[in-house]
């Protein structure tokens, strides 16, 4: 029940006031006067009305809840830290340098789970990651909100947009000053948006602790794009980077195997399970070679078609390793196209160990390192083939 004030037009006398503003011990209490309901009576005696206590109780209950949540999180954090140290001791590791990854491995070791879903398996994480973030008390005891945009319902989000506009205005003023001094923006400092993207919606929601509609997320991106497009946007680089997520270089993530050495001291790399359509291949690339290619014991003429032969030579030509390496391939199953594709991927995958990072990136961009997972589609009953239907008859 929302408390309301009755605004009564009276000629001279005032309204009886339902709460005293001085507590029993004489301490000053500034009651939120607009929260209480005033009753119109003719006498000046103050009467204690139960409705006053109800509203402040609700407020107090809210503040109490917020405080309890904070305490709860603190307690959980303490328990987590202590538990982590115990775990480190159990595993015989140094508690000071026990990272979250070590914790995960330890839990996996101590509590082996046969469950398929990773989220259903036992875990031990800091409470911030487990319990959804809640906003702290949003208003004080008098009921006055802390945030100036509280009544919008999404205070943090609209504060962010406000800050963006504030930055744009400041940059405009700066630009005016620079123009008056006949100066131009520094092109070397210009912000590059390549290699990163705006924070995804769920991450932004988590950070702001507010659910966002799609239109609001679009407004967020629009505002920031506008800010970035300003010629002096590099002056607020830190602010922008906070809401930018770097796109991870996939090649940098992969672990490229070191070549092994055989009796002759030649380096070699073997890749098994090279799959393409119905073919399976195992490819070995030996360094310090002269360009010999052997497929199932035969040379390149294993393949009758020129296209298949070109497919196999392509990674070697592109990396300029044609005369430097020897290729040995075992392949079974499928047809010429599938077998050639499998060997091609195998060669490219092995060549990563013989070539520098730039060339690996070029191979990736050329599509040599992408596993082609397409499998032949099955024939369906009631149809002539995968997609071909039987002759349609009108009647």
């Amino acid at each position: 029940m929302i408390p309301i004030i009755k605004f009564v037009v009276r000629n001279s006398n005032y309204v009886s006031w339902s709460s005293s503003s001085v507590t029993a011990n004489g301490a000053k209490v500034l009651w939120p006067s607009t929260l209480t309901v005033s009753f119109c009576t003719n006498n000046n005696d103050s009467e204690k009305k139960p409705s006053v206590k109800k509203t402040s109780k609700a407020m107090k209950a809210y503040l109490e809840r917020a405080r309890k949540h904070e305490e709860f999180i603190k307690k959980e954090n303490l328990e987590y830290q202590i538990g982590k140290r115990h775990l480190a001791n159990m595993m015989g590791e140094d508690p000071e340098f026990f990272t979250q990854e070590d914790v995960n491995k330890a839990i996996e070791y101590l509590f082996p789970s046969g469950l398929f879903e990773p989220k259903a398996r036992p875990f031990m994480k800091p409470p911030e990651e487990v319990y959804p973030p809640q906003k702290a008390a949003e208003f004080d005891e008098a009921g006055r909100p802390y945030h100036f945009l509280f009544y919008t319902g999404k205070a943090n989000f609209y504060k962010l947009l406000y800050e963006v506009v504030e930055n744009i205005n400041n940059l405009n003023k700066y630009e005016d000053r620079m123009i008056r001094k006949h100066l131009t923006p520094d092109p070397t400092q210009a912000m590059s948006m390549i290699g990163s993207q705006w924070l995804p919606q769920d991450v932004l929601e988590h950070r702001l602790v507010e659910p966002l509609h799609e239109s609001q997320y679009a407004a967020f991106k629009l505002a920031f794009d506008r800010l970035v497009s300003h010629p002096y946007s590099y002056r607020v680089r830190d602010f922008i980077e906070e809401y930018r997520k770097p796109l991870v270089n996939q090649v940098a993530l992969q672990q490229i195997p070191e070549p092994q050495y055989d009796e002759n001291g030649r380096p070699y790399v073997t890749t098994t399970n090279c799959l393409r359509k119905r073919s399976w291949a195992e490819v070995t690339v030996r360094g310090a070679g002269s360009g010999k290619i052997s497929i199932n014991g035969q040379g390149l003429d294993y393949f009758a078609e020129i296209q298949s032969r070109e497919q196999i030579l392509f990674p070697l030509i592109m990396t300029k390793q044609l005369k430097n390496v020897d290729v040995e391939a075992k392949v079974i199953g499928g047809g010429p196209s599938g077998q050639a594709g499998a060997i091609r991927w195998g060669i490219a995958f092995c060549l990563r160990s013989f070539v520098d990072k730039e060339m690996i990136e070029q191979m990736r961009l050329a599509g040599l390192l992408t596993r082609d997972y397409r499998k032949p589609e099955r024939k369906k009953p009631g149809q002539a083939g995968k997609r071909k239907k039987f002759t349609w008859k009108k009647r």
Partner: protein, 257 residues
Amino acid sequence: MTLFILRSLGSRARTAISEFSYECSRRSRLSTKPNVREEGLKSETDIETYLDPLKHPDYFKVHELFTISDLFEARVHYGHKIGSLNEYMKPYIFGSRQDHLIFDLDITARHLRQALNFTAHIAYQGGIILFISRNAQMAHTVETTALDCKEFAHTRYWRGGIFTNSQCIFGATTRLPDLCIFLNTLNNILTQHTAVVEAAKMNIPSVGIVDTNCNPLLLTYPVPGNDDTPCAIELYCKLFKEAILRGKEHRQKDIDQ
């Protein structure tokens, strides 16, 4: 002396003050402020120190904040075209020139003084003041004004029920604003801002700048004037901010005593 001042004012000023401010009576406001009635005037010369703000016609001296020429410079007198005139705005119009309506700045000044006085009183009582505007161009200015005087602002899409259904919107019993200041009362040319109606429903007093195409009826303290030109809106923001800060200053002074 006070009686003389009060009698010299018209009935309008007296009712304007007594209507709302008397309800939040002295005792509830500040516990340490001496009760004038009970203790009586100590000295005839020092009236200012214990003059009851609620009885004073202009305790915060808001009439000093602006002059009519300031309003003129800020283009407050410009209205829209005759075709879009709202019938209830007719008393506030001075006339028209080349089909554009002109506000009577004497009337505007009087309304603005009342509005500023009321705002200052609300701030003096420690009330929550919410600035509302749907003008995208001036949204940032309005929000900055609210931030500067430590009050609140809402310049975004108004979710229906923020006042009438606050339990659902905010998830807990929330204290609603004690005053809504509308820098423009329209969402677009066709529709009035929902908050005008909601504030009226929840008995929250409202101050609003009403242009010639606006409906002033649901506002407690309408201020007829231009609500579109940036310099006019900046002037209003400056005036309201100043009034609020004065009210808060007096509040702090009286608390410290």
